[in-house]
Structure formats: C-alpha cells, structure tokens
Symmetry: C2
Subunit: 279 residues, 2 copies
C-alpha cells in the first residue's frame, strides 16, 4: 500500500457521520473474492508477527503490546471481526474482553477501573468488544452520568490511552460504521434465521429507537478522543468482507511498524548444545 | 470413522508407555498432506459446532462446556495444538489457561483451587496447557508433596473431574506421547534456530535428566485417573501433523456427541419483525 490505510481511515475533526459511505472500499481496489485471498495472505504475516510480539513478551525483552478497540452499533460486526480477523492468529496470544453492562461492584469504581485490569500484557494482542467508550456513548445517550462527568471522561480517556501508549502499547480504535438501513437489513436477517435468534435481544430495538442520539454521541467521542497517540478510525462496515479486510490491514500496518525482533538467547547456545549431545 | 478415535486412544490399565509408538497414526489411513485437508475440513465443522455450543451458553439454554487438558513433556506440542487446533474455532469461545509454577498465593490453597477458578463456563471450550496433573507429575518427581498427599490427589482429581462432568462438562484429556529421542531432536532444532530460542529454557534439560521418573509419574497418573467420565487418551505425538489431526478428531467426536441445538427464541419473532418494519 502506497498510502497507509491507517492515514486514510483516521478521523479528523469535525466529523460528519452522515457523509461517510458505509459501503466504501477505501484503500481496496479489487473485488470481494480478492479480499478473501488478501485476508488469507495477511493472516500468514499477522500470525508470524504475532508470534514475534508474543516472544518478546514472554522473554521480557519488549514491552510492546497491542489493543484493538471495537465499537459500533448492534450488528456492525464486532463479533465478526473477532472471529475472522483475531481468529487469524494464535489464540494463545489473544486477550479478548467483551464489555457488558457494569456490575454493581464495577460501578463502585471509576469507569476506567475495570478497563485497566484487562489491558493486554506485553506480547499480547488485546481485543475489546465494546470498551471504556461505552461510558461516553450509552452513558451520554441514556444519561447514566451527569453532563460534567461525561465531559470529564473524554479527557480521562485521552490520558489513560496516552499512558498505555507511553508504556509500549499500541491502540487501534475502530468505529464500525453502518447506516440505519444496514442495521435494519441485518436485524431482519437475524429474525429470519432461527440459528441467529440467540444473538437477538428485544432491547436492540430500544437502542435503535435512539439511533440519532447514538450517532451524535459517537461523533463527539470520535472528535474528542481521536488523538495522535490513539487515533480513531472510521471503518466502513456496510460490506462485511471489506470491514474484515480493513481491520486486518490496520492491525498488520501497526505490527509491521513495531519492527519486532526475535529475542536474543539469554543462555549460551553452544553450552546447551554440548550438554544436550551427552543426554 | 467406524470406530471412534476416542475408543482407540483411550487408556486402559496397566499402561506401558515404552510399548507405545510415538510415530503411530492410529485411526488415520492417509498421508501427511491428506491430514492437512482433513484438518481444514474438520475445522469448518468444529467452528460450526463451537458456535452452537457458545450460543447455548450465551442463551443459558445449555450447561454444556468442554475442557481439553494437554499434558506432555517439553516439546511434545501443547502450544502447537493450541495454535493449530484451538485456532480453528472462534477465539471468543475459547478460554485458554497456561499453568505455571504455582504462586505463593496459590500454594496457600489446595492444589485444585486455582484450577476451579478457571474452569470453562457453559458454552466455552477451555484449554489447559498443563493442568492440575502437574501436582502429581512434577509434584511426584520433585517430591514437592509427601507420598500420602500425592496419593490423596489422584482421588481428589477423579472426584473433581466427576463433578465437572456431572454439571454438563466434557473433559478430553490428552497425553502427548513422545520418546526421549523425539525430544532430543526437537530441542536440538530449537537450539539451531534463533527464532526459537525464546521457547528454550536451560531448565528444560534438568527436567530431561529425570525422563524416566516422569514416564513413571505419567504412567501412574494415566492409570489412576483414566475414568469412565474422564478418560485419558495417549496421543502419539512424534509426528506433529498426526498429533494435531488426532486432537481435532477427538474434539470433533465429543462435540458431535453433545447433539447441540440452536437455542429457541425467548421472544416473539413475529412481534419483533412487525416492530422492526415500522422503524
């Protein structure tokens, strides 16, 4: 890629979500079938780089670690990315967290408390299915906190993310952009398919009623929290295959940029070879 | 498969490990390349069944869950199985635990305490890279506990596993069998390859010195803890491709036997369709 996909999808304020085409194929010139081949090929390189990342963590020679944050409306494809993109690498190197409604115990702490506890360790690729951003999304839309508190959180998030990246972390934040029509089609497909009923919640339609409020809350979160150290990306997600391709490409770009090296042996290779030969 | 692989690899006492061929291809009639095709094909069915298992857990309609226990000497392929077999399914449905030397906090509790805390929840496939069996393996070889305590543990393990299977769990215990020569070859290959040095510990050779003691400890564990509800399997692991194929086949057999069903909708599909149509 001549121009990085990262730079093409990075958010620059002001954000006007309705101007984004959910079916765009930014940075990709081929057809759907080419994307599958491309994804498989990227998968091999991702898998190799992930092993190098993991090795550095295990050998304690590197503090590098990666966090992929997935946010988007219901049916935008957070689960699909975990299956099809995260699924390309060794599951041993993944730390996946799915954030639900906070428990009473979690609510007793600051909103970042439960997030800090599950940040990826050195060598790991963390994936957040929803994240601390829920606290300025549903938090704002449903008025779960005061306006002042929501305001404070944007700054707190930026500082929190900065401290993660200062200590060897890389954050890849992906907003999976779909339109209300895309969602309608996907919810209808879920309702038509008994093998997908378990994914459906009647609460999904209650949230859908608040579509415009959510778009507004996303717009603010994208504008306020797209920073140099942790930019937001708007990933057109109306086409599932493009969405998967794009997130894999973003991850690959970041892993390549880390310039990962195999850790040096912390023992004498010759001495061990000699010892093994006698056994 | 006419005869299940499960029945072919299941341990029946008395065990004589030196009589097992580590390069056997029990239950597989093809060649190495066929195994790769077979594995990919099994991968699709495993992935489908895993999703059904996961759906039942998420919808709380089923208490089914699976635990794969991987034990074997260094280089026997525990990590390889996680990458190549567990890696075939959605990582969201996996709970992988790698058991290290117990921490001081863990040592304050009974040996099963840290294991109970990480058993897979309904819907999940748990994978143990080493397990509670270490407490009768290294525990026995290095005399980390008294003979009476080791003796007590076999029974405690059987009861613990029974309680797991009584509550909807399925346990697939795999002893990855290699010979001392297989291990020598693999350790030598690790030493020859700088990209594998991070996997090597000088302590590996100290354990290798105790090879016969470990084989004896494994023999006892296999004999004492291969029960009807949680049988041990001896997986010939001198060929990596067969080892991966065999563990995938064991997992597939167990998932098929669960006769998994998609959960029924806990809402009125028609009412939701009507509501969605208006939005």
């Amino acid at each position: 890629m001549a121009t990085s996909l990262d730079s093409q999808l990075t958010v620059t304020a002001p954000v006007n979500l309705s101007a984004y085409d959910s079916r765009a194929k930014t940075g990709f010139s081929g057809k759907k079938d080419d994307a599958a081949d491309d994804l498989a090929e990227m998968g091999e390189e991702l898998s190799d780089l992930q092993e190098k990342l993991f090795a550095g963590g295990r050998a304690e020679t590197s503090s590098a670690r990666v966090l992929v944050v997935l946010q988007g409306m219901d049916t935008s494809g957070k689960g699909g990315i975990i299956r099809h993109v995260a699924g390309l690498v060794d599951p041993q190197g993944l730390a996946i967290t799915s954030f639900k409604k906070p428990t009473p115990a979690e609510l007793k702490h600051d909103f970042l408390w439960r997030v800090e506890r599950v940040l990826p360790e050195p060598g790991m690729i963390g994936v957040f299915d929803r994240s601390h951003y829920e606290d300025v999304l549903i938090g704002r839309v449903r008025q779960l906190a005061s306006a002042e508190e929501i305001e404070r959180r944007y700054t707190a998030i930026n500082e929190f993310e900065q401290s993660f990246t200062d200590s060897g972390g890389v954050i890849i934040k992906c907003f999976l952009h779909i339109t209300a029509d895309d969602q309608k089609e996907r919810l209808a497909a879920r309702l038509d398919d008994p093998s997908k009923h378990w994914k459906y919640n009647t609460g999904d339609l209650d949230e859908r009623m608040l579509w415009d409020d959510y778009q507004q809350a996303y717009t603010l979160a994208l504008e306020r929290c797209s920073t140099e150290h942790a930019p937001w990306h708007i990933v057109p997600s109306g086409r599932k295959w493009y969405r998967n391709w794009a997130v894999a490409a973003l991850l690959l770009e970041q892993l390549r940029a880390l310039d990962l090296q195999w850790p040096d042996a912390d023992f004498s290779v010759e001495a061990e070879q000699a010892r093994l030969a006698t056994m």
